[in-house]
């Protein structure tokens, strides 16, 4: 495939293209696109270009040197605005680099811009951005998915070679599937969250979005690693290298719930058949609480959101609205500058954590997390991965679900269990429907089993 990290790396090494020309090409494309994939294409790229040129000249270039990469708008890059696509941070400039950006800088990558997203990463369509939805490159009347919809659209439309997103319930994999690109949710704790704006701290993970599995692997290997600045970061040497058993598990009864796109299910079956033809054994297994992960998630996430977003108070960051007492300023600023979904989740979080409901909701959801994790671990002792479609349907229309939060939440049915259990998962394109909208399939692997997921992903790429 052309225009991958691998492709341009070879071109840069051979001198067929220069860093400056490559960056100029991508900046021009990003600036002339009308998808609303970017919140901003950076104009101060000179220092990054010179750094990459120097690395190429003195033989210290890495696979990412000179490669234009897009950043989701919630990942801090010092000296640049990072707004989480919220009005409350419209004028906030990052004071420091996230660890992921530091690692990209050290590798010589070029951060060319920040991409549109659902406000504070809450949403599945990018429609919750305060700056308008991003359009799906395959059909501009459809959503690109979310919350990393801008990153997904940018990569799919070749407005960036690859991108970083963040995944709390599917926010890398679901837009990856909707836009026809590869997205990885790494094992929680393998990629530092330092400098990622916190939404759900026990769930958020930064991960790669790319055109090929190999590119996602390259990017993952650059951004991973222990970081003392993130106290949930895990030691770097925990990577497992399980051998391929050629055994995949499908959660039993998962398709009986209804609400699935027929053509998508057929595509999933075709992909499963192709894997069987390669010698894979694919079996239905009991995962009784797989589908309960979504309900647990929508208790845990508002609880964490209401706590994490308390810092946006009109005093310390971003913008301030109103006069009067401190309480008046807090309420006016937050009321005016948070969008409807953020407000909903703050209020819900306040509710589930309040006296009388804490045991019924939050503690039960936390217990459910433990149960789901044990169920996944038991199954993954005998199988390489749990195999599902990434989403129940292909990309839906802009405006279609915006007034029905619960129906929007159901987009995350297959993706959320991995977050809840801290397992890694990979979404890979698996074809398109008659209208040209992409489908994706997902592998949920054992903790630290990223290498196994890349192996499985490459098999899917080869049978396509």
């Amino acid at each position: 495939m052309e225009h991958t990290i691998e492709f341009f790396h070879a071109q840069l090494l051979s001198g067929d293209i220069t860093v400056r020309d490559l960056v100029a090409q991508y900046v021009a494309r990003a600036n002339s696109s009308d998808l609303n994939a970017y919140r901003e294409v950076f104009s101060d790229l000179e220092e990054q270009i010179v750094h990459a040129e120097k690395m190429l000249a003195d033989g210290t270039a890495t696979a990412l040197t000179g490669i234009p990469i897009a950043l989701k708008d919630n990942i801090l890059f010092a000296g640049h605005v990072a707004s989480a696509s919220s009005r409350i941070l419209e004028h906030y400039t990052a004071s420091y680099d996230s660890t992921a950006v530091q690692k990209l800088k050290a590798a010589g990558a070029i951060m060319i811009g920040r991409t549109n997203m659902d406000e504070f990463a809450m949403g599945s369509s990018t429609e919750n951005s305060a700056y308008g939805p991003t359009k799906n490159p395959h059909d501009p009347t459809k959503v690109p998915g979310g919350s990393s919809g801008g990153s997904a659209a940018a990569v799919a439309a070749d407005l960036a070679v690859a991108a970083l997103g963040s995944d709390t319930a599917g926010s890398i994999r679901q837009p990856g599937a909707f836009c026809g690109i590869v997205g990885l949710l790494p094992t929680y704790g393998t990629v530092s969250r330092h400098g990622l704006m916190a939404m759900g701290s026990s769930l958020d993970v930064i991960g790669p979005m790319a055109k090929t599995v190999s590119d996602a692997e390259t990017l993952y290997n650059v951004i991973r690693g222990h970081d003392p600045l993130d106290s949930t970061s895990l030691p770097s040497d925990m990577a497992a290298a399980p051998t391929l058993k050629k055994r995949l598990a499908i959660p039993k009864g998962i398709f009986e719930k209804g609400g699935f796109d027929e053509e998508l299910l057929k595509n999933f079956q075709t992909t499963a058949d192709a894997l069987k033809a390669q010698g894979f054994v694919i079996e239905e297994v009991e995962l009784p609480h797989f589908a309960d992960a979504l309900a647990a998630y929508y208790i845990i996430i508002p609880a964490e959101v209401s706590s994490n977003l308390a810092r946006f108070d009109g005093i310390r960051y971003g913008d301030r609205i109103g006069e009067g007492t401190v309480h008046d300023i807090y309420a006016a600023t937050r009321g005016a500058l948070f969008g409807p979904e953020s407000r909903r989740r703050i209020l819900l979080g306040t509710y589930v954590l309040s006296h009388g409901y804490h045991d019924a909701y939050y503690n039960k959801a936390v217990a459910m997390r433990g149960v789901i994790r044990r169920e996944l671990e038991a199954v993954l002792e005998h199988y390489d991965a749990i195999f599902t479609p990434t989403t129940p349907t292909p990309a839906f229309g802009i405006g279609e679900k915006v007034n029905d939060p619960v129906s929007m939440y159901l987009s995350d049915l297959f993706t959320v269990p991995a977050n809840i259990a801290h397992h890694p998962a990979l979404s890979i394109p698996s074809g398109k429907n008659a209208a040209g909208l992409p489908f994706g399939v997902q592998f949920i692997g054992p903790r630290f089993g990223e290498s196994l997921l890349f192996t499985l992903g490459k098999i899917i790429e080869n049978i396509r």
């Binding site: 006016a332 407000r343 433990g370 939060p405 619960v406 939440y409």
Partner: protein, 95 residues
């Protein structure tokens, strides 16, 4: 289990959350929250025969007390919406 979400309850939660919700939106916010609570209520029905399942293993992370470069305080204060003479400006807190 859950009480029906109503306008009064939304007002109560909005005050706790320090979040102004305009009067004309209280009804629709209550409606949406009711739907979401209805959805997550399925967790009440889930049979958790392993109730009390342990949460994730957690451990305290300590760092050595070392002098390292940090973000200059000046930059952090500049990030505040209102600041003056290297102080964040806050309205009067004590009456």
């Amino acid at each position: 289990m859950a009480n029906p979400m109503n306008v009064e309850q939304v007002k109560y939660l909005a005050n706790l959350a320090r979040l102004a919700v305009p009067e004309d939106q209280l009804e629709s916010v209550a409606h949406d929250m009711e739907a979401i609570i209805g959805f997550v209520d399925q967790i009440q029905k889930a049979s958790l025969d392993t109730m009390g399942a342990e949460e994730y293993e957690k451990e305290n992370i300590f760092r050595d007390d070392m002098v390292t470069p940090i973000v200059p305080a000046h930059d952090l204060i500049e990030a505040a919406p209102q600041h003056q003479d290297h102080f964040v400006k806050v309205t009067k807190v004590i009456e």
